[in-house]
Chain length 229, copies 6
């Protein structure tokens, strides 16, 4: 596993702002709070968490055009934004959040594999900082965060089970699995994909175990980063 | 499991055209062949399979606006299109396909849960019909299809493991997993999502077994449908 | 004239759902009801009917890209959607419909000429089924349908007046005319276009007569299809 | 019929530039020539004419938002652009034009009814000026214009057949018909629409005669405007 | 300086409608009034002026595609629209205007350099005509126009300071400066750009003086044009 | 003037990557090189520099929606992108750059006034780093950078001339001027805008002097930052 570092309060405006650096993968995760909810939740007393993932043009080896140039959000970014949103929603009791929307923006400054997982792991810290702010200002009386989530990518590279794949490992992996877990060892989301050769139950089992270990390390890092105000 | 039916040669223009009816879920899967590939494959000798998923406005209980009205492809459709494409690509040896692109369009005529899985299972049949056409016309000498894929949604609904979820089951499921398998019992893609409560290893194991059984039934149905020309 | 067939209640969600098969031209016509009207009719006590026409990518001999790919609705589809809307509105007394909008979606599953006319003729049946539903549920006390409409394409192909042009006839026609009529023999819309050589009054007269006969056959088929519940 | 005036050479850049003033309807029609054709005509030796119709925001009683604001071309403008293009193409022998595209832009400066017909009638003059320029510069040896076209709107307003409807007549018309004719009295396009009550054969006949007279007056005006260089 | 001419009341619908002809640069400037303001001014008692600048496709030597074709407003037009809006807002006391928005549309019919300046100079006259209308109808009791603005482009062309650059001068200018002034000789906006070689303080001083003289001539022309009703 | 800091080589992929921190204004400026030019420069032997400016959603006090959500690039961003591009182009001899395009992306991580000026000042350093890379790899034999540019915003706030406005000063400024200069004290671009009250020659003169001093401080900081490899 690559070293992971959380720079909390990285920028000053968003309610939560965390720069996560996982090896050479750097994602700026910010959480912004609004006192309104999507129409399907209006008058439900429940809140919402949504996420937006994007890569800066210079975050990859070859410069990537901005979405606005093509007037189309990149398909991969759409898929990842939806995954991050689902993952982070699992950490909250929406009734306790009340009719608020927290938008977690995950902007990749530098990509070296595992950006979707780093976005979830870092976004969790930004989300918690935003919630702490709501509580400190008395806008929330009870903590809506019921568990933390973290995510790791695992894969089988050249026959060898590997956790926290960087870009070089990612492109060469036979199987690639992104796993979102809770600190009590349960699953929020599992996405395993056979890039080349289908995988069997044993490989799935191996990857699952590896993911669990990887997430435990990330939970420890999150806890330490969040241990002071 | 709901009854599944494949109407092959449903429409006349596409190289493969299959209406899959899985209970009240109806998807028109068509495969169209073009003698060109995306730029990243040019001069590689390899082919490509891509998929597009869309719902007709009247396919759901409440009419759904067309994407073109908002000038934005529905995020869920983007995510599903990418999944179908990855799943179907796993069935082919792209070197044997040669520099051709097969586009599999999955248009949902009526949605009652499991449309993404039906699209994969039915799209496989349309893809095979398209390939048979290429072989019959002598454009391909060797069959590029190295295995069939099929997909099933499984979930835990009210505590009870259930396969092939219809819409009523889908919305009430605690855990929802879409599994794409090969006929030899291996995995191409696993996507498990905890909608409400995270799931544990035992539940994952249960769903995996259930998915395997479900896919076996679908492989049998595919084989029968494809047994005559 | 090609054989015409109406499969009513083809799909289950829309208030009216009709698959019209006119030779190899197949259009799924569905009518959906909403209890609101466009802003220019608000508080007028009057209703509205609008139509949307689109072709599935695989409905034509060469696969057609989806509009969303170009972020632009196909110009021909815009023109046809507007024609269908005008035609179907002529069948209703909007004051009797009340402040409701009925959207008629015409999705071409397979195109072999005459899709805009089939959309009108089939859309009429879907619209009537939707209205019957409103009346059966007591939402309407009086039938707002004051007349049925049907449409036929006529043309002069190789010097010979021809009705209900399939694609092969359509592309070779010197004059091409789409005529929307009412069952009492009057016109709702006439659109005649000289593709190659301008046409004279005699030709117009011939086509008009032919269109009238064609529409009469379609009205008979509509009446029979709608004769049972 | 309202007075019609053609100001040729209104602006200086386009190959043909005509301001047509028909009562208070003013349309700037310009014809621009490019030495290329759409892909379906490449290497055919044939040319193409296309038209674009748009209204300035201030051309109507209530300011109209620009299309770009909604990122969508107004549906009515799409329909009218297509009509103008078909009409003007009927005036040319495309083989004689050679592989050139003439784009006729019809920008409505002020709209008081009949803008689509004025665009055709004025666009014809701009097109002819552009062709004269090609011939004067020796780029064309033979005149590709084989006939002139003109268009008039006719209608039945309060029971009274009326030609060249201004906006007040247009909105009150029971039947509204746009007719594109050639100077030898034949039809290029007929578009009749019953706004309120369907129309019968006798009314169609009346409108047709009226349109013929109207077009004859317009052909005379065109001929006079084009009589000098 | 080229001759400048203002044709007031050029079209009939807009509250103010002025065709400004400055040499071969022709811009139709219209001012439309709406009784609403952007959301950031709601309930402020203050009004707003905004501007939209666009070029007709045939206004330039080479035909220019419409923005809607690319689904993107031309970057230069965005920049110029914002400049015109800022310039015209400087002429009004927004509290006296009250909660109204005046939209000034500047549509270039023919471009021969200096279109942004002509849009400001002509837009001022259209704006004043719109305000006069509001006052004449008793909708405004006090004139919100506190000063007039006009704009001129100045530059150094082949070493020679030049005012009111036409297109030929504009493309060859070493320095190009657009200056918006008030009739009392103060500045609303200065935009100086070194196209080739940076400019020094002396050149800036020269251009500033030249711009002042140029604007004085334009203020005289505006005053004369507005001297009668 | 606020403290300014340049973090060179901030990210690893772009040819030049500089984080400029000017007080609480932070902009990530990256320069990417491509071996192609826009079509108007093809076969000219000359290169091009273009810039793209954008703000991260969380960079401002209130979260700002992404452009892609509205399918429209923010007008202010368009205007600023064009300004940055013009400014940076003034630093290069395009013939010496050869047929290459350098794209300078300026992504605002945190905005506290003066972001467009910081983008130019920081973008210059990124551009120089990219050019040094080209020279180090032998792709360029002669340095195309002929001068450095820097930019500062100056204004009159509460009657007091002020340089390097932060957001609080910016919104309260009576006059606001952005000045792009070269190290030899000449001007590349001057954009002065009277937000409230027009400004006179004396104020312009004061601001110009202030800008010159401000830019000199920035040139010193640039030189120091670039003094080592």
């Amino acid at each position: 596993m690559r070293n992971v570092e959380f720079v909390r309060h990285f920028t000053k405006y968003a309610a939560g702002s965390v720069l996560i650096r996982q090896g050479d993968t750097w994602v700026l995760c910010t959480a912004s709070v609004e006192n309104k909810v999507p129409s399907f939740l209006r008058d439900s007393g429940r809140g919402w968490v949504t996420a937006e993932y994007a890569m800066l043009p210079s975050s990859t080896a070859t410069r990537k055009d901005r979405d606005i140039k093509k007037l189309k959000q990149d398909g991969r970014s759409v898929e990842i934004s939806r995954l991050i949103g689902r993952a982070l929603r699992a950490s909250l009791d929406m009734a306790k959040l009340g009719e608020r929307t927290i938008t977690v923006d995950c902007d990749v400054l530098q990509a070296d594999g595992g950006t979707r997982c780093a976005s979830i792991t870092g976004g969790m810290v930004a989300l918690e900082d935003a919630v702490r702010g709501l509580m400190a200002r008395g806008e929330l009386s009870e903590n809506p965060i019921v568990r933390r989530v973290a995510a790791v990518s695992v894969g089988i590279c050249g026959g060898k089970p590997t956790a926290d794949l960087d870009y070089a490992h990612d492109v060469s992996a036979d199987v690639d699995m992104n796993v979102v877990m809770t600190s009590d060892g349960r699953f929020v989301e599992i996405q395993g994909t056979a890039e080349h050769e289908p995988f069997d139950e044993e490989q799935l089992e191996t990857l699952r175990r590896l993911a669990k270990e990887g997430c435990q390390a990330l939970f420890a890092a999150q806890a330490q980063a969040l241990s002071d105000n």
